[in-house]
């Protein structure tokens, strides 16, 4: 998986957003991949950059916008909203819409929720600590971390939080004085124990092993392995490049399901870096020309790498990466891969204005091309793998029909992956946020500046439009359910919940006032 893209377009377009950032904890509800990075990134989805060949004449890198990844997240019963201006976190309960506010440290810039729904955690840049909030009781514990950190991630088992400094993320409380680019803080959420450590230069991601025993901190030139089962946490440093300061960007890192290997796809490299996490050895395997994307199959057994330059998909065995790879040719220069299920994957590109995508039958090794009304900006597959959602660019292909209703418009296409029925839709504005329900039946998205929640029924391929009281900012879906939540512009905070089965929209407004309640 690629590193998260720079600040999405909607953030740049919305200077008048409410004080509450509605940065809630991430929960990969509705994801189509097994990338369990609990990132506090808003996950805002922006348009793919135009096809830019760059100086070397090659197509620009693929931008995998994870719009199906829940941007802010919630637990199954609560949505947490941080307010950096008031140093509070508000918890809104569902379905009662009861709001409770707790004081946390200064300037909470990130809030995330543990996947076991027991805690919410904020990273407080003003006081350089994390606040561990008990979800049911709203009791708060503050644990100091290293100064000037601005990224937060929680482990899938909800036991650990890790914070680090990302220069690509704008800090709420910019550093002054000394600033380190190598430090991370690891916090045990149960005990509140803080373990600071120095890892590789510029860590930009953390991967958690499936069994929760390992944390792999990804830097461009190295991996730092942390045994989470040890009494004392220490990083085991594994360099993957000699020149730490000029190492190629480690765009994606995946772990094998048994935690034995880490696979690192580097920008511009024709080899995949394979790191033996047990032995600490680093090896490289060829993966074709100009690899642009890597994904694990849903069962974790396969590592698929799309080599756009070679027009090939290289498939490696996750448990034995040195085994002979399966190479599947592609008729078109696709650069991204998206697994629908263990037997089917989708190939597409958002680096050029292609109006086709490929359906890869993994067993047979064949790729069937299908056409689209417009070029692709992003793709996403419902959690059940039965439906495909394609967000299109506003820009059209060179040979596009100017009389087409989609010409010059934003659009999306719903695709049934069983029979490949489609329903392309013209959009009045750019989509800015998207999420799906866990059962794969519903998809939700909002458009830039429009007061609507768009509801997609993946079974019928039909849509509904739900009016909202004000312009949406963030949205998501509650885990283990179908209820979508949408935070909206309002001076005092506004959050709406939509239940697609009943069509009911419930809104709570003014929850920020709770921070002013005096006792």
């Amino acid at each position: 998986m690629r590193r998260a893209a720079p600040a999405p377009v909607w953030m740049a377009r919305a200077p008048g957003l409410l004080v509450a950032l509605a940065l809630v904890g991430c929960r990969d509800s509705g994801l189509s991949f097994t990338d369990n990075e609990s990132s506090a990134d808003t996950g805002g989805w922006g348009a793919a950059p135009p096809a830019d060949t760059g100086d070397d004449g090659e197509a620009p890198p693929e931008e995998e916008d994870d719009f199906l990844r829940l941007a802010p997240a919630a637990t199954d019963a609560y949505v947490f909203i941080a307010n950096p201006a008031r140093d509070t976190v508000t918890r809104v309960s569902v379905p009662s819409l009861a709001a409770l506010t707790a004081e946390v440290g200064e300037t909470p810039s990130v809030v995330a929720t543990a996947t076991d729904y027991t805690h919410a955690v904020t990273l407080n840049e003003g006081t350089d600590d994390v606040s561990i909030i008990d979800a049911p009781t709203m009791e708060v514990r503050n644990v100091g971390v290293r100064p000037n950190l601005n990224r937060l991630a929680l482990s899938d088992d909800g036991r650990w939080a890790m914070a680090w400094y990302d220069p690509d993320v704008e800090s709420e409380d910019p550093a002054d004085g000394v600033l380190s680019f190598n430090e991370v803080s690891v916090v045990n959420l149960a005990t509140g124990t803080h373990t600071p450590m120095a890892v590789g230069f510029n860590p930009h991601a953390v991967k958690w092993s499936v069994d929760g025993a390992l944390a792999v901190i990804v830097s461009d030139a190295s991996l730092a392995i942390v045994d989470l089962t040890a009494d004392v946490l220490e990083p085991r440093f594994i360099p993957i490049e000699e020149d730490a300061l000029n190492a190629p960007v480690a765009e994606e890192v995946e772990l094998s399901p048994d935690g034995a290997f880490a696979f690192v796809r580097q920008f511009g490299a024709t080899e995949l870096v394979v790191v033996d996490l047990v032995a600490g050895a680093v090896d490289r395997v060829p993966i074709g020309e100009n690899p642009t994307d890597m994904d694990l199959s849903p069962d974790g057994e396969r590592v698929a790498i799309v080599s756009r330059g070679a027009r090939e998909v290289w498939t490696l065995a996750a448990r034995d990466p040195w085994a002979r790879p399966e190479i599947t040719p592609m008729a078109s220069p696709y650069g991204s891969v998206l697994f629908a299920d263990d037997g089917t994957a989708l190939l597409y590109t958002n680096a050029s204005l292609l109006t086709t995508y490929g359906v890869w039958d993994i067993a047979s090794g064949t790729v069937t091309e299908r056409s689209l009304v417009k070029p692709v900006a992003s793709m996403g597959v419902s959690p059940t793998g039965g439906s495909l959602l394609v967000f299109h660019t506003e820009e059209d292909a060179e040979d596009a029909d100017a009389t087409s209703p989609f010409f010059g418009e934003f659009a999306l296409t719903l695709v049934d992956l069983d029979d490949f029925r489609t329903n392309p839709l013209v959009l009045d504005a750019e989509p800015t946020s998207f999420a799906t329900s866990d059962d794969g039946k519903w998809g939700f998205f909002v458009l830039d500046g429009l007061k609507y929640l768009e509801v997609l029924n993946f079974e019928s391929l039909l849509y509904d439009e739900v009016p909202l009281p004000s312009v949406p900012v963030h949205m998501g879906v509650l885990p283990a359910g179908n209820t979508a939540w949408v935070s909206q512009e309002h001076d005092l905070g506004r959050l709406s919940f939509y239940e697609p089965a009943s069509g009911s929209l419930d809104t709570i407004t003014g929850f920020e006032l709770n921070s002013g309640i005096e006792h």
Binding site: P95, A99, P469, D491, T507, G510, L513, S515, I517
Partner: protein, 524 residues
């Protein structure tokens, strides 16, 4: 000699001259009213302020009257507690700062030495039972349902002149235990405008500028402010609460407060249990709101929007009912409500059944001034204003006169009946004899009390001694009618038997008293 005898005889006749031919050679004037016609009709009689004399008298239905001993103080403002037996009166008296024992009367004290002191007198059965130290500037009261607790506060909307002597704290409300006379000052916020009491009487909500304060009334933290709900987070923004209702659950606990604010199309929902705030967006600025205990919903009307909104009390979702004309007031309870407009020229009157969710539209012949519902809830009676006559037909004729509208609130209602009134209605009350409902109407310049059988639409005149200015209901079914007589005249009317008894002359009490300096402790 004869002339002398004649002169003597003439002089001897002087004492026997016709007694009611008053000399009337001089002229004088009073600076104040002899009596305030805004009387308080309590269970033990009618309490009347005598501003010119500075006294308070209690007039009984048998016509007798007596002064209430206020210790030399004069009543400024009065209010009747919900028990209909207790009168709370702000009283004040002059104080001379010069200790000279020779100064006995007010006019003997120099103006620059004159000051004023005040207190709140709790009066029961014609006597002061407690005197409470409450700032005299406080001009508004609220009572709990039991009538055992009163809250005094300063209501700026009343437009009174505030005399600041020394330091005045405008952010406090004073809670007074009426039985014991104990007073407790609680800081509640700037310019409190309304006070509500929870159903169980355990707390009070004080609505003031940009905040709502919850004051505990029982337990260890009694008389303390326990929670303050902000209505804005911006200190530069002024949010003034306008109207509020409390919502209780089946157990009797007060769960929510709904607060409307001036000029904003929003309702603040204060969760009193979980201590949180939600804002419900409306499509207009509410003019009135009321809680229906039957369906546990709140009704909202708007002055500039022809809609009735009904809010349920779970998620406060709004269900709208269209009207033909905007309504500004809601009257009624127990599932049946009357909507009407008392601010403009609208004629529509609506009857809304909250269970059946039926909205019946009725037409008032003229714009409604005031509307009340009978105790039996079978009728709504409204006084109607005149309006510019349009046309020479019946409607044009009606427009020229005030009217009384009779609206049937039954399940199969008859058409509204519009009665024409001879004069401007200066007061009306509703009463019943157990079998029939009646409206008692007083009109300006007309010295009769009209007793109208609402069901029959017929009226019976009860002749009064003089033309009336107002009517008040007394707790035991009597009505007291005030007359604009400078020497004081009220009539007690038993609407059932149509018998009357008059009390007169009580406004003369104390007129000749030279104002003295009361409560003066001077060291000899």
């Amino acid at each position: 000699m004869t002339k002398s005898l004649s002169l003597l005889a003439l002089l001897a006749l002087l004492p026997g001259c016709a007694p009611w031919d008053l000399p009337g050679n001089g002229y004088s004037s009073l600076e104040s009213l002899t009596w305030d016609p805004a009387v308080l009709a309590a269970a033990d009689g009618v309490y009347v302020r005598l501003p010119a004399a500075g006294d308070l008298v209690r007039v009984k239905p048998d016509g007798s009257f007596a002064t209430v001993n206020l210790g030399g103080a004069s009543p400024d403002r009065m209010v009747l507690a919900p028990d209909d037996e207790t009168v709370l009166a702000f009283v004040s008296w002059p104080v001379c700062l010069d200790d000279d024992p020779k100064i006995v009367y007010v006019d003997e004290c120099r103006n620059e030495d004159l000051d004023t002191d005040s207190e709140l007198a709790i009066i029961r059965d014609g006597a002061v039972v407690h005197a409470v130290d409450v700032p005299a500037q406080y001009n508004a009261f609220a009572f709990n349902e039991a009538g055992s607790l009163a809250v005094a506060y300063l209501d700026f909307s009343a437009g009174v002149d505030i005399d600041i002597s020394g330091v005045l704290n405008l952010t406090e409300a004073v809670f007074v235990d009426i039985a014991s006379g104990e007073a407790h000052s609680v800081p509640v916020g700037f310019a409190p405008e309304n006070v509500l009491f929870s159903a169980d009487g355990s707390k009070a909500l004080v609505l003031s500028r940009s905040r709502v304060a919850v004051v505990s009334l029982v337990g260890a933290d009694a008389w303390t402010r326990t929670v303050v709900y902000p209505l804005t987070l911006d200190v530069d923004q002024q949010v003034d609460p306008d109207n509020a209702v409390l919502i209780s659950n089946e157990s009797g606990d007060t769960d929510y407060a709904l607060v409307s604010v001036s000029g904003q199309a929003e309702l603040y929902v204060l969760d009193l249990t979980n201590e949180s705030i939600d804002i419900v967006e409306l499509d207009g600025v509410p003019a009135d709101l009321i809680v229906d205990p039957v369906t546990n919903r709140t009704l909202v009307v708007y002055s500039n929007r022809a809609t009735l909104d009904v809010l349920e009390h779970e998620l406060f979702e709004v269900e709208s009912f269209d009207l033909d004309e905007p309504c500004t007031r809601i009257a009624g309870d127990d599932g049946r409500f009357v909507l009407y407009n008392d601010r403009g020229t609208a004629h529509d009157v609506y009857v809304f059944d909250t269970e059946a969710e039926t909205l019946d539209e009725e037409l008032a012949e003229n714009p409604v001034m005031e509307l009340r519902i009978t105790e039996s809830a079978a009728w709504a009676v409204a006084t109607m204003d005149t309006e510019s006559a349009a046309g020479n037909d019946v409607s044009g004729f009606y427009d020229q006169y005030h009217g009384l509208g009779l609206f049937d609130l039954g399940d199969t209602p008859r058409d509204p009946v519009a009665l024409l009134l001879e004069g401007d209605p200066v007061g009306f009350a509703l009463t019943t004899d157990g079998t029939a409902d009646y409206a008692l109407v007083l009109m300006e310049g007309v010295d009769t009390l009209q007793k109208i059988d609402i069901a029959a639409g017929t009226s019976n005149e009860i002749r009064l001694e003089e033309s009336p200015v107002g009517i008040d209901a007394m707790p035991d079914g009597l009505f007291v009618v005030s007359h604009p007589n400078p020497l004081g005249l009220v009539t007690f009317v038993d609407a059932t038997t149509e018998s009357m008894n008059t009390a007169a002359g009580f406004a003369a009490v104390g007129l000749l008293e030279r104002p003295a300096l009361p409560r003066r402790n001077v060291e000899e």
